[in-house]
């Protein structure tokens, strides 16, 4: 079986010096050719080079989830991704979820449910939730998925499933009950399918 992590193209980062390389990142649909120090993380590049400050630096160690973005449609901690290794990948940040003035259903649901207080973790929560919906639709099990669930069948997102799948996103204000409701609303809505049907390549994300 094929991995879903095939690059958009083979990637062709070019060494500029011992410590820097030139590479291309496709961020929210736009290609960016960048010459970067190998130490730069995707989070640093988004915030410092591209002016996309939605993804937040919380712990900077992959433990809080505030930096969550989608890479080729799957959620990841951008603080732990070296940008040079993501050459050719498609990256979606919270800024890329809306279609013009029309917010992503999860953004709407977070507003409707008042699923935030200070808001610092919210971009990461929302990107993570977009990933959760796609993973459940693609039949990814979780630690709480009942053993008898058929392999590959879409997983129903119960509150327990949402809590388990969102455990990589901390909220120090403690907005968790509302976050679970917001994700549940979108999951339950019939129209949700159109946002998650893009499959593993993630074409369904803000297309």
């Amino acid at each position: 079986m094929e991995s879903t992590h095939q690059p958009a193209d083979a990637g062709g980062s070019r060494s500029v010096s011992d410590q820097c390389s030139e590479l291309v990142l496709y961020v929210n649909g736009k290609p960016h050719t960048l010459t970067l120090d190998h130490r730069a993380t995707v989070l640093d590049v988004l915030r410092e080079d591209l002016g996309l400050t939605g993804a937040k630096k919380g712990c900077d160690h992959g433990q809080c989830g505030a930096c969550t973005v989608l890479v080729d449609g799957r959620r990841a901690n951008s603080c732990l991704l070296l940008a040079v290794a993501q050459d050719g990948r498609r990256i979606t940040t919270v800024e890329g979820l809306a279609e013009g003035e029309r917010l992503h259903p999860l953004q709407e649901a977070f507003l409707e449910r008042d699923a935030l207080q200070c808001g610092y973790c919210t971009p990461g929560q929302i990107c993570s939730a977009v990933g959760v919906l796609a993973e459940a639709a693609d039949g990814f099990p979780s630690h709480v998925t009942p053993p008898g669930t058929g392999s590959g069948a879409p997983v129903e997102l119960t509150d327990d499933e949402i809590r388990e799948r969102m455990s990589g996103n901390l909220c120090r204000c403690g907005a968790y009950p509302r976050i679970v409701e917001a994700v549940g609303d979108v999951s339950a809505r019939a129209g949700a399918a159109s946002w998650t049907s893009g499959g593993p390549a993630g074409q369904g994300v803000a297309s």
Binding site: M1, E2, S3, T4, H5, P7, A10, G11, S13, S15, D18, Q19, S21, D37, H38, R39, T41, D60, H61, G62, G65, T68, V71, R74, R75, A76, N77, L80, L81, L82, V84, A85, D87, S128, G131, V132, E135, D138, G139, F140, P141, S142, H143, T145, P147, S151, G152, R163, E164, R165, M166, S167, G168, N169
Partner: protein, 331 residues
């Protein structure tokens, strides 16, 4: 973070050649542990060899009924793969009990095996640590060691191997396939990690410049039941205090095959050979399971603050084996 060079390997041979004779080079998989350790100053490679685009991202059926898992298969893909869920549930469950959704999407099979201990002293460069800087001492022995080893530790190191996946692989009699400067070789997953002894800096038997290329699972027999259970301080996204991976086959109320491995107890997944000796050929009862667990854990030497792990391991093992036996009886 110290500056470093970066190359992207186009083939296994190219990756191995780039690493040959370069002790300061590291292979880069998902990077979820390596990049973190670089930020902490624990790892200071001069060269990263990116192996994530090598054609090692497939799960393949083997002619003998086993499974070959490429080293670059992501943890989330492996946990979701139908043959793994259907035939080797202990492996899928172990992967899903570890880390977060984001980390599982990024972490690779090979990288998961090679992740380093989460011992606080190892991760803090202001503290001595024999694993990080051999000969500097082990403050964990008399310090914060609640999460650390009760079996197989040495005066030099009491760290635990943190991988859930590795515990399942040890119980499944998986093999780890390596490609290095001297060619290819295979190591049993249960023997891949080592005990600290007087060389705690070596987590595993992997040699300099060797690359994990795949993990292979032997065929699963139809009567085989398997399960992973993990005890941790919170319900999700935490390392194991103790975990158990178990494989059991029962016929006519008698144990025909048993493989038991513990996580969170030692410097490697602890394959419970003494317990298995008790189990083989014995009636599949709670009494047998308790005797088996006790036989294994008689060797435990808890530290000041982690004695709780011994009864926890015993109870987890008995519970998991009883559950598997119950399922075998009902099928």
């Amino acid at each position: 973070m110290k500056p470093f060079g970066y190359v992207r390997a186009a083939s296994i041979g190219e990756a191995v050649r780039a690493a040959a004779g370069q002790p300061e080079a590291r292979f880069l998989g998902g990077g979820t542990n390596l990049v973190d350790l670089m930020k902490l100053g624990v790892e200071t490679p001069q060269l990263l060899i990116d192996v994530t685009r090598l054609p090692l991202d497939r799960i393949e059926e083997l002619p003998d009924g086993g499974l070959r898992i490429g080293a670059m298969v992501r943890n989330s893909e492996l946990a979701a793969a139908a043959p793994v869920r259907d035939r080797y549930p202990v492996l899928s469950q172990a992967l899903l009990a570890g880390a977060s959704g984001q980390l599982r999407n990024t972490a690779t099979t090979g990288g998961n095996l090679l992740q380093r201990t989460r011992c606080l002293y190892f991760q803090d460069t202001s503290k001595p640590c024999n694993k990080r800087e051999p000969g500097t001492g082990c403050p964990a022995r008399d310090g914060a060691h609640r999460d650390l080893a009760v079996l197989g530790h040495s005066e030099h190191c009491v760290a635990t191997q943190p991988s859930d996946m590795a515990v399942a692989l040890a119980a499944l009699d998986a093999t780890v396939h390596l490609h290095g400067p001297d060619g290819e070789r295979t190591v049993a997953a249960a023997e891949f990690h080592r005990l600290p002894g007087d060389k705690p800096e070596q987590d595993s038997v992997i040699g300099a410049g060797e690359l994990v290329t795949s993990v292979q699972l032997p065929p699963a027999s139809p009567g085989m039941r398997s399960r992973y259970r993990k005890a941790r301080d919170r319900a999700s996204f935490a390392f194991a205090l103790v975990s158990v991976g178990a494989v059991l086959e029962v016929r006519d109320g008698v144990v025909r095959h048993a493989a038991l491995a513990f996580g969170g107890l030692a410097h490697r997944p602890w394959r419970a050979r003494a317990a298995e000796k008790v189990l083989y050929g014995a009636p599949a009862t709670e009494d047998t399971f308790a005797r088996a667990a006790d036989a294994e854990l008689a060797a435990a030497r808890p530290l000041r603050d982690n004695g709780f792990k011994v009864p926890l391991a015993r109870n987890l093992a008995v519970g998991v084996l009883a559950d598997l036996a119950d399922r075998a009886a009902r099928s």
